[in-house]
Symmetry: C2
Subunit: 233 residues, 2 copies
């Protein structure tokens, strides 16, 4: 009985942190007084305390308190007792590295499968997939494994970007990178554009937000999914 | 007595594969009849044979033959006997994965330090640094380590891109990513723009090509290096 929101980004252009999601979060975290925040992805390398303060400021506007997971001595217990959980974005390699370091992958997976309401943004969404092999992040640390939660049966490519028309840059497009992934892997990949998210209720996964999403499966042409449809892979 | 060319990209916009580098390569590989090509990065997931054919076509114009390392049963011996070596671009994770799989990291390092002329482009340049933690590539496979050749005392960020003015995309800029790297690591990073390369002669490293390069060191503001200067970190 999963109850998760898996968002491409925390912030859309021209608005404040989580602003575009707040109406959804108000319902999603109904009756939740305090959320446990996983700050391990450290965007821009900021401290856990500074990052938790940013999450706290956004959730305060819908009357929810935020406590950083780093503040708990027993992190497994903190997750097991959490009314709600939010994993923020940043660097997916460092996030996964810390998840392994604190040995909380299985605990987090168990509580999410048991229905604890969850929000992931960016790196916090990447970890909901089968593995982190479709992150855009730089491999600034070497995690013990790329395996992640597997709460959904595919991978996320957050901040999905369409090929830029007229670009003179010779680096690979996002689509080329995901196609390379499928030379070596079978797992489907959903390119989630900024402003899109997945609502996961039990095993039903629905695309939400203002854009279509691009679904890549091995040996097939990519397809566009309309907002509102169930994502079936 | 190193003798290496470490290039940001194989191809600049509007020209053919290696075209902009051919005059330089003619001198660099003077008296070399056959080059051993390392095709393991497989751009777009193409086969080793197809990739070797692309390299072959470019080098044929300067009368040099190309043989793929995958064609040799004994890869260490092939590297030890090579008159010249070229590692092409593609996916750095898969390149490094195969280098470990074939156990050739130390052999390649030894022959390069012994003076075998080398060309690296993109992923083939990333592996010349201390580690591959500044690649832009997607982690489509999990290599046994991120440690690379360490033929230069810093890391390369190939295809370096300046922040895009007026962008509405919320993903991190290249500079932000490299600054995050320096929260966790001390190794300097050189952002090499497409069209730039390093000429390494023994321990002297000179920036060449049509652009400045951006040098990032921990706890300092990034600086721009002019083409023609020695890179000292």
């Amino acid at each position: 009985m999963k109850n998760m929101i898996i968002a491409s980004t925390s912030t859309v252009f021209g608005s404040t942190y989580l602003e575009y999601l707040l109406p959804t979060l108000k319902t999603h975290f109904k009756n939740v007084k305090t959320i446990v925040f996983i700050p391990f992805a450290r965007p821009g390398g900021i401290t856990y305390n500074a990052y938790t303060a940013i999450a706290n400021k956004a959730f305060a506007t819908i009357n929810i308190a935020v406590k950083g997971l780093h503040e708990f001595e027993n992190k497994k217990e903190a997750l097991q007792n959490a009314e709600g959980i939010f994993t923020g974005g940043g660097n997916t390699f460092e996030l996964v590295n810390q998840i392994y370091k604190h040995d909380i992958l299985q605990t987090l997976k168990a509580v999410l499968e048991n229905g604890t309401p969850y929000l992931g943004t960016s790196a916090g969404s990447n970890i909901c997939g089968v593995n982190m092999k479709n992150t855009n992040d730089m491999p600034i640390v070497y995690p013990p494994s790329f395996k992640t939660l597997g709460c959904i049966p595919f991978n996320i490519n957050a901040h999905y970007l369409d090929p830029e028309e007229g670009s003179t840059h010779m680096g690979e497009t996002r689509e080329t990178r995901i196609k390379e992934f499928h030379v070596f892997n079978d797992t489907p990949v959903l390119g989630l554009r900024e402003g899109s998210w997945l609502a996961v209720k039990n095993d039903e996964i629905t695309l939400k937000g203002s854009h279509t999403a691009r679904l890549f499966t091995k040996d097939n042409a990519a397809i566009e999914l309309e907002s509102g449809v169930e994502v079936v892979v």
